[in-house]
C-alpha cells in the first residue's frame, strides 16, 4: 500500500467506530456523486428506446429486456473502433513528444539557466492559459500550410502546444527537489551533463514522468475544439468529436449509443489512472509543492 496511511491522531475506540461509520458514509456519498452518471450511462446503453423514452419508467432499472442494439449501432454504423484507435494513437504520440520536449526544457530551466530560468518557467506555464477557442483560427492556417488539414497528424502537431507548457512547469517543480549533488558526483566521475540527466535524474523521476504522461494523455483525449476544426473525415476523427458527429443527426440524438460510446471511451482511461494513482501521487507531491 504505497499511499501511506495517515491518521489524524491515535484512535480511541468509541470514536473509532463512529469515525469508521462516518468514513464509509463519506466514501459512499462521494463515490456515488462521482459515478452515478456512469451507472446511469451503463444502463441507458442497453435500454430499449421504448423504455428509455417513457417518462414514467425508473431510469435505473430495465423495464424492458436489455438490448445490444445501441452498442451494435455504435460499432457497426459508425467508425467507433477506428476513433478509439485514433484517440489512443494521438494521445500516445503527444505524450512522447511532450516528454521529449518538456524533460530537457524543465531540466535546463532548473539547472542550467539560473535566475531567469524561474521566470521563463512561469512564462511558459502562462501560455497554457491561452484558450483554444482563441487560437484555432490562426492555427488552421498553420495546419493548412503544412498540408495537414483533415489529417490526424494535425492534432499530433497541435496538442503539444498546450501539453508542453503545463508539463514543463510540472517537471520543473519536480526536478527542483532532486539535490544536485547526485549529478555533480556523476559528472566528477566523468559523466556528461546529459548522461547525468539520463542515468541519474530520470530514474529517480519516474513518478514525475508518469504524472506528465497522465496529464498529457488526459488533456489530449479531452480536447475537442481543435479536433473539430482540423479533422472532418470520419476515419481520422477522435472519439471526442466522432461520437457527437455521427450519433447526433440533425435534431435526433441516439442516446443509447452515445452513452455506450462515452463509457467505452472513459473506462479504460480511468482504470489506467487508478492503477497509476500511487505513483502519480508521489509525482505530484514532489513536483507541485515547488
Amino acid at each position: 500500500m504505497a499511499v501511506a496511511e495517515r491518521r489524524i491522531g491515535p484512535p480511541l475506540t468509541a470514536l473509532r467506530i463512529g469515525g469508521r461509520a462516518l468514513l464509509y458514509l463519506t466514501v459512499v456519498i462521494v463515490t456515488f456523486l462521482a459515478s452515478f452518471p456512469f451507472i446511469w450511462m451503463l444502463i441507458t446503453a442497453f435500454k430499449q428506446n421504448s423504455d428509455l423514452y417513457n417518462i414514467k419508467n425508473n431510469p435505473f432499472i430495465f423495464n424492458a429486456p436489455p438490448t445490444l442494439f445501441h452498442v451494435q449501432l455504435l460499432f457497426r454504423e459508425t467508425l467507433f473502433s477506428q476513433w478509439l484507435v485514433n484517440t489512443a494513437l494521438v494521445g500516445g504520440v503527444v505524450v512522447i513528444i511532450t516528454l521529449l520536449v518538456a524533460v530537457p526544457a524543465a531540466y535546463s530551466l532548473v539547472r542550467l539557466t539560473g535566475r531567469w530560468g524561474q521566470r521563463v518557467g512561469i512564462g511558459i506555464f502562462l501560455t497554457y492559459l491561452v484558450p483554444p477557442s482563441l487560437l484555432f483560427i490562426p492555427l488552421a492556417r498553420v495546419v493548412a500550410e503544412l498540408s495537414l488539414q483533415d489529417n490526424l497528424w494535425a492534432l499530433v502537431l497541435v496538442y503539444p502546444s498546450f501539453t508542453i507548457p503545463f508539463c514543463t512547469w510540472l517537471l520543473m517543480g519536480f526536478f527542483k527537489t532532486i539535490p544536485g549533488e547526485l549529478e555533480e558526483a556523476a559528472m566528477v566521475d566523468g559523466c556528461t551533463r546529459l548522461g547525468a540527466l539520463w542515468r541519474i535524474v530520470l530514474p529517480i523521476s519516474v513518478a514525475g514522468l508518469l504524472t506528465v504522461v497522465i496529464f498529457a494523455f488526459t488533456l489530449s483525449m479531452q480536447e475537442f475544439v481543435y479536433a473539430l476544426t482540423f479533422v472532418s473525415p470520419s476515419a481520422q476523427k477522435t472519439v471526442s468529436i466522432g461520437v457527437p458527429t455521427d450519433l447526433v443527426r440533425g435534431d435526433v440524438f441516439y442516446w443509447g449509443s452515445l452513452m455506450a460510446g462515452a463509457l467505452i471511451a472513459s473506462v479504460p482511461a480511468a482504470i489506467l489512472y487508478s492503477l497509476f494513482l500511487d505513483r502519480f501521487i508521489a509525482g505530484l507531491t514532489a513536483g507541485a509543492l515547488k
Binding site: 428506446n49 423514452y53 417513457n54 490562426p138 488539414q149 470520419s234 457527437p244 443527426r249 440533425g250 435534431d251
Partner: protein
C-alpha cells in the same frame, strides 16, 4: 469501333483523350510492363493513378438513409462516370460555421461546402455561381426563397447554389385538439386551445431559446403580426407597434399555454416532448412524424401536420412560416481552377438528378429548383409509410403547398449577413423571452432588440455586402 463493349474515356495527355475498353487496358498493361515506352499509351497508367478527386462536406443528415444513398450510391456512380474519386465528409450541423471559418483561414478546404442556412457572410470568399444558377433556373424554375437565400441583390452575385430546403410545418396532436375543439390554423386558436390543453397537462411546445427551432417560430409570429427585422431594402424595421403586439402575444402564450421549460429547449427538445406525449403543438421539420412512425407507432396516427397559423395582420397578406433548413452549396474561391470546375460539374449533374435525392430524403427535403421533381404533389400525397401505418397516404399533404407558405430568414428582404448574425446570436428569442419572463415590458424589449440589431446592420453594410 468496339461499341458493344463497355469502354471509358482515358486521358492520354493534357488534351488528348482516348476511348479504351477493358481488353485494351489489359493489353496496355501487359505492354507497359513489357516495354518501357509504348508511345501514346505511355501516360495511361499515370492517368489512372492520378485519378481526380472531389471533396464534399455535408452535415450528418437527419435521415441516415440519405447519407447512405448519397455516400454509398450516388457519388460512387458519378465518380465512375467522371473518373473521379469523390470523398464525402460529415460534421455535426452545429459545427458548419466553425469549420467554414477554419477553411477560409487556412485557404484550403473542401471543394463543395454544404451549409444548412444561407451563407451570405462568406460571399467574399466564394465563387460567383451565376453561370450555374441561371441556366438551371431557365430549365427548372426556382422558388423565390431559394433565390433570396443564395443571391445578393446589392453585388448581384450568386454566392451559393441551393439544391433543396426543408419546410417547417406545425405538428399537432389531433386527438387532443379535436377534444378541445380547434385546429391550429390561426395564432388565436393556438392560444385558445393552448390554454385548455395546458390545463390538461399537454401544453403548447414552442421554444423560446437560442436555437434553430425557436428562431424560426419567433419569426413566424413576427410576420403573422405584420412586423419583421428588416424590409425589402435591408433597413431595420423592428421597433414598431406590430412587434410589440407580437411580443405581447408570445408573453401570453408563454404564461397561459406553455411551461417554463421551453426557455431551455434546443433543436431536439420539441421532438422529445412531442414524442413523449408531453406537448400538443410544435413546429418542426417532419423528423418528428418520421421518428414517431419508426419508434412510436401507436402515437404516430395522433400526430398530424398543419400549415403555420394565420396571424391577425399577416405580412404581405398571407400566412408565413420560415424554412427550417436551407441547403446551400458554396465553392471556395481559393481552390485551384480545375477543382472548382469539377465541383461545378458535380453540382449541375446533381441538380439534374435531384429527383433521386428527393426520394432518398423521405420527404424531408424539397426542391429549390421546382422542375427537378415534377410530381412533388403526387409523391407527397402517396406516402407509403403513412399509408401502411394509419391508412392515410395523404398525411403530409400540407407539404404539397409548402412553397406557398414558406419563406426565407430575412423576409421580406434577402437572407443577408446581418440577418444571419442576428439569427445566430439569438436576438429575437431573447427579446421574446425578456418580455415573457417580465424582465422587460414589451415596448422596452422591442427597443432593446432594435438597439442590438442596428449596429449589426451598420457593420455589414459598412463592408459593402448589403
Amino acid at each position: 469501333m468496339k461499341d458493344e463493349e463497355p469502354s471509358k474515356w482515358v486521358r492520354v495527355s493534357d488534351n488528348r483523350w482516348r476511348r479504351v475498353t477493358r481488353r485494351d487496358l489489359l493489353k496496355i498493361a501487359a505492354a507497359g510492363a513489357a516495354a518501357a515506352s509504348v508511345g501514346p499509351f505511355a501516360n495511361i497508367q499515370f492517368a489512372f493513378a492520378q485519378q481526380r478527386r472531389l471533396t464534399i462536406l455535408h452535415w450528418s443528415h437527419f435521415v441516415p438513409g440519405y447519407d447512405r444513398w448519397f455516400d454509398g450510391e450516388y457519388v460512387k456512380e458519378w465518380g465512375r462516370a467522371n473518373n473521379t474519386e469523390v470523398v464525402v465528409d460529415h460534421i455535426p450541423f452545429g459545427q458548419i460555421p466553425a469549420r467554414a471559418a477554419a477553411e477560409v483561414a487556412a485557404r484550403s478546404g473542401h471543394d463543395l461546402y454544404q451549409h444548412i442556412s444561407p451563407p451570405p457572410q462568406y460571399e467574399p470568399e466564394v465563387e460567383d455561381l451565376t453561370d450555374l444558377n441561371e441556366p438551371l433556373i431557365k430549365k427548372y424554375g426556382q422558388i423565390e426563397l431559394a433565390k433570396k437565400s443564395s443571391y445578393n441583390p446589392k453585388t448581384k452575385k450568386w454566392f451559393g447554389l441551393s439544391n433543396s430546403w426543408v419546410p417547417d410545418p406545425g405538428h399537432y396532436r389531433k386527438d387532443l385538439w379535436d377534444e378541445a375543439g380547434y385546429v391550429p390554423d390561426s395564432w388565436d386558436n393556438v392560444l385558445l386551445a393552448g390554454r385548455k390543453l395546458k390545463a390538461k397537462g399537454v401544453p403548447v411546445g414552442i421554444g423560446i431559446a437560442n436555437d434553430i427551432d425557436a428562431n424560426m417560430v419567433m419569426r413566424d409570429i413576427m410576420w403573422s403580426f405584420g412586423s419583421a427585422i428588416q424590409n425589402a431594402s435591408s433597413e431595420v424595421t423592428i421597433n414598431n407597434k406590430n412587434t410589440v403586439e407580437a411580443i405581447k402575444y408570445v408573453r401570453a402564450l408563454f404564461k397561459e399555454a406553455m411551461d417554463p421549460e421551453v426557455l431551455a429547449w434546443d433543436a431536439s427538445s420539441n421532438n422529445r416532448a412531442m414524442l413523449a406525449g408531453k406537448v400538443s403543438y410544435v413546429f418542426n421539420a417532419i423528423s418528428i412524424a418520421r421518428t414517431a412512425e419508426k419508434d412510436f407507432p401507436q402515437l404516430s396516427p395522433q400526430i398530424q401536420i398543419w400549415k403555420p397559423p394565420r396571424g391577425p395582420n399577416n405580412l404581405g397578406g398571407k400566412r408565413l412560416g420560415a424554412q427550417h433548413v436551407m441547403l446551400v452549396y458554396t465553392i471556395w474561391k481559393f481552390l485551384p481552377d480545375d477543382r472548382k470546375r469539377l465541383a461545378k460539374q458535380f453540382l449541375v449533374d446533381f441538380i439534374n438528378s435531384w429527383s433521386r435525392a428527393f426520394k432518398a430524403a423521405e420527404l424531408y427535403e424539397f426542391p429549390s429548383f421546382t422542375g427537378t421533381v415534377p410530381d412533388v404533389r403526387a409523391q407527397v400525397m402517396t406516402d407509403a409509410v403513412a399509408a401502411r401505418l394509419e391508412n392515410n397516404p395523404g398525411k403530409y399533404r400540407e407539404l404539397a403547398t409548402a412553397t406557398q407558405w414558406s419563406t426565407n430568414v430575412g423576409h421580406p428582404g434577402y437572407a443577408n449577413a446581418a440577418e444571419g448574425e442576428i439569427f445566430d446570436t439569438g436576438i429575437l428569442p431573447q427579446m421574446m423571452a425578456l418580455a415573457a419572463t417580465d424582465k422587460m415590458s414589451a415596448e422596452d424589449a422591442a427597443k432593446w432588440a432594435d438597439a442590438q440589431i442596428k449596429p449589426v446592420f451598420a457593420k455589414w453594410k459598412g463592408r459593402g455586402l448589403m
